[in-house]
């Protein structure tokens, strides 16, 4: 049994952030019915040249585990059909530009008038309100608007664009807020509207820097440095492009590290006697550390440092992650079969419950794959009526 079993979602989301929200909720047990149409299929069904992907994704981590129906939202009868779907759902999720759902007659006010208990989650780049609410945006723009992009980067370099992790952070936050609203519904009967702003999610990830700036501080790009810890960074190892991260938190850990390095001279070096002095001379200190790590195998060094209680980890590429024993043991990385029958690594929703199950039970649905169940069983539409709606390109 999954924790959100029994919760049904009418899913109108597109692109990455919104679909990731409903994908995670579906892995937690919600039944997610994805609404698309042949005239407007999900972007993951299409090639994506700017990303350099010339073909569609064969298995994707935002559409999998969902049911698929076709509804043409450009047709009035399609809107009526969408409302029927909302009527049998607990949660409506959408990620159109603000105003589009209202224009379609599917805005929160219209749906709440029909079904007061409806919970709606809207995901957009800047939120449903405010002077910039009409702005178009993607992950790197959310990061740019929200100061996260400005603050990320080498000290002497430009800002850095946030990629898919930004979209998916928005989706994860939306999933969390959605469950909070549904939990209120279950306890009080109150529906509601959750309006998630992607640029505000970027802001929330640098909340402490914004507060520091509000008090007159000037937060800036600091690369891999930490404001207090040194050594702290990403270090070269013996092998090309195998990097080791190390963070030393205390004097005790510094002593242990110097012993591991077999470098007693560092312990008497006046530059490295106190935490603040080490921080002040971190460039020289990091040079010393790297001379040592350059002689080591990254994984062996990671193990030796962890055995001594020092925070260290390999800088993992996705191959490392796909075969990581810890992640496999936890069930975080699992093997799934894609639509071609090939096995590949995928991610289970990142929560382990003591009793409840979590995870994917099916891959990406074909467009309209679940219409017998959704239109037939759930909405009780006869085969003749469905055929007629298909002929009229309402189910299309």
């Amino acid at each position: 049994m999954k924790p959100l079993a029994g919760l049904r979602i009418a899913d109108f989301t597109l692109h990455a952030a919104g679909p990731f929200c409903t994908h995670i909720l579906s892995q937690l047990g919600a039944e997610c019915i994805k609404v698309e149409s042949a005239s407007r299929p999900d972007i993951f069904r299409k090639p994506h040249p700017v990303y350099g992907r010339m073909g569609p994704a064969s298995f994707d981590q935002v559409a999998s585990n969902k049911l698929s129906v076709r509804i043409n939202l450009k047709d009035a009868k399609g809107i009526a059909l969408a409302k029927q779907l909302v009527d049998v759902s607990d949660l409506v999720c959408e990620s159109f530009r603000p105003g589009v759902m209202e224009r379609l007659g599917l805005g929160y006010a219209a749906l709440a008038a029909m079904k007061p208990s409806v919970v709606m989650v809207s995901v957009s780049s800047s939120g449903q309100t405010g002077p910039d609410s009409h702005f178009a945006g993607y992950a790197p723009l959310f990061g740019a608007w929200g100061a996260l992009g400005y603050l990320t980067g080498y000290e002497d370099g430009p800002p850095v664009e946030m990629r898919h992790v930004m979209d998916h952070s928005v989706g994860m936050t939306a999933a969390m807020a959605a469950v909070a609203a549904v939990y209120r519904l279950r306890r009080t009967g109150l529906g509601g509207h959750v309006d998630v702003s992607a640029r505000e999610v970027a802001c929330s990830l640098v909340g402490e820097a914004l507060l520091f700036a509000a008090a007159g501080g000037e937060p800036s790009r600091i690369g891999n440095d930490h404001l207090r810890m040194a050594p702290h960074g990403v270090f070269r190892t013996r092998d090309e492009d195998r990097w080791l991260t190390i963070a030393v938190r205390s004097d005790d850990e510094w002593q242990v590290l110097a012993k591991l390095m077999n470098a007693p001279a560092l312990l008497v070096d006046p530059r490295f006697q106190t935490a603040s002095s080490r921080h002040g001379h971190r460039q020289a200190l990091h040079g010393e550390i790297e001379q040592w790590t350059m002689t080591l195998d990254a994984v062996d060094a990671e193990r030796a440092l962890q055995d001594s209680g020092i925070a260290a980890h390999l800088s993992c590429n996705m191959q490392d992650i796909a075969s990581d024993r810890h992640l496999r043991d936890r069930g975080t990385v699992v093997d799934v079969e894609d639509t071609d029958g090939r096995r590949r690594a995928a991610l289970r929703a990142p929560i382990r419950f003591s009793r409840s199950e979590v995870g994917m039970t099916r891959g990406t649905p074909r467009l309209g794959e679940d219409e017998d169940y959704v239109f037939g069983d759930l909405l009780g539409i006869s085969n003749e009526e469905r055929q007629s709606l298909m002929d009229q390109r309402v189910i299309y």
Binding site: F20, I24, P49, V50, R53, F59, Q61, P116, S126, T129, P131, D132, S133, F135, L141, A144, A147, Y154, P159, H164, S169, M172, A174, A177, A180, A181, R184, G192, D195, S197, E200, C203, S204, V206, E208, A213, A214, R221, R228, H232, V234, W243, T245, Q306, H313, L314, S315, C316, N317, Q319, I321, A346, L347, A349, P350, I351, R352, F353, S354, S356
Partner: protein
């Protein structure tokens, strides 16, 4: 729901937080933001995040990190190493719905807060563990800070990309600013706790095990999907084929045109330069192939532009473009003000400051925090009140 009748989603929910790090603290902060009564249990010396930089000027005493993460919470001091401290904590837990913490297995056993003891004493309590690598698995006892976790989850290896990667191809990979991975751990812990609360309504309470590494990896799902497609992503090769970070005369902007109509808008924005009118470039695959050439031209054009002007014209033409806003610019932003992203709150040791409330609205309005960050032990009376309330029960148990 009618406007003005706002009931915070978690009104009536009680959360006890015992945290050392950012992830568990952010989970508690999300509960407080959503309206739960969130009690931060601090050791007599205070939560360690009170001592983490940056410190708020001009006094440089109060931690900005702690102030942000603890806003809306209540504070009691209570030392679970002592019998009295454990009794106090137990009094709080007896009335709580959720216990969120980042205690290691050995500490849990020493404090009698292990999963089995909690379940036996508080059958309705949702026990949420948030650790760097989770409570189970071969790395459960491993140490990690943010820089280790952002790299353990794969995103660190993939940064920077775009302009910074081009400028500094030989530098080590770069972490995201601040506590990105740990914040993901906080969001996921809150999601796990809420899912368990939902489930408690029909079955019984269960415990939740969240790993910051898992959470940060989850939001990096796309790179693992690409691996399955046969492509091992690398920071030097995953840049956008054109666009991205552009240096203007007075700062940086981000430009990303994924759709043909956005590309056409960009051509307009640049004043229809000759090179961009090449008919071959109307094909998106051709643009992808000629990305480097396009980038040279776009970058030269961008250097002549002023950010405010070019972003306004871009958005009017439907071209996705944004300024890389500094924290000060975000704080002064009209849009942020209109959405009440920041709430003025008293920060002990500093004064009244705008604190980011939440990246979402509920029922048409920004949530509202009950207060700024608490002083150490500011709500100590809660402990006494709980113990008084529970005295008859405890007496019965003792007999």
């Amino acid at each position: 729901m009618a406007e003005g009748a706002f009931v915070p989603p978690l009104a009536g929910v009680t959360v006890v937080e015992l945290s050392h790090g950012v992830a568990a603290a952010y989970a508690g902060r999300l509960f407080a933001t959503l309206g739960a009564e969130t009690v931060l249990v601090e050791p007599p010396g205070g939560n360690p995040l009170r001592r983490e930089p940056p410190f708020l000027p001009p006094a440089d005493e109060a931690s900005a990190l702690f102030a942000f993460l603890a806003s809306g919470k209540k504070s009691v001091t209570c030392d679970p190493k002592t019998t009295a401290g454990r009794a106090g904590l137990n009094a709080l837990l007896a009335n709580a719905d959720v216990f969120v913490h980042d205690l290691r297995a050995a500490e849990r056993a020493a404090f009698e807060l292990d999963e089995q003891s909690l379940k036996a004493r508080y059958p309705n309590l949702i026990d949420v563990s948030v650790l760097p690598f989770g409570a189970h698995g071969p790395k459960a006892d491993w140490q990690a800070e943010e820089i280790n976790l952002i790299h353990a989850s794969g995103e660190g290896f993939l940064l920077p990309n775009g302009l910074a990667a081009e400028l500094f191809p030989d530098r080590p990979p770069l972490k995201v600013f601040g506590h990105f991975a740990e914040y993901q751990g906080g969001v996921v812990a809150a999601l796990g706790a809420l899912s368990a609360l939902m489930n408690r309504e029909r079955t019984e309470a269960e415990s939740v095990d969240v790993s910051v590494q898992d959470a940060a990896l989850a939001v990096g799902a796309f790179a693992l999907q690409r691996l399955g497609d046969g492509s091992l992503e690398h920071r030097q090769t995953r840049s956008f084929k054109y666009g991205g970070v552009l240096e203007c005369a007075d700062g940086y902007v981000e430009l990303l045109t994924l759709e043909d109509r956005q590309w056409r808008g960009l051509v307009e924005l640049m004043g229809r330069p000759g090179w961009a009118l090449d008919p071959a470039l109307s094909d998106s695959l051709e643009r992808s192939r000629r990305g480097a050439e396009i980038n040279r031209a776009i970058r030269a054009w961008a250097r002549e532009q002023r950010t405010a002007d070019v972003v306004a014209r871009a958005q009017a033409l439907g071209v996705p473009m944004a300024k890389y806003a500094s924290p000060a610019e975000v704080l002064a932003g009209e849009h942020e003000r209109a959405r009440r992203l920041f709430q003025p709150l008293d920060v002990p040791g500093t004064g009244r400051l705008p604190v980011l409330v939440a990246p979402f609205h509920v029922d048409g309005a920004a949530p509202s925090l009950k207060a700024g960050p608490p002083r150490l032990g500011e709500h100590q009376h809660l402990l006494a009140a709980e113990r008084r309330r529970q005295q008859p029960v405890l007496a019965t148990e003792a007999s």
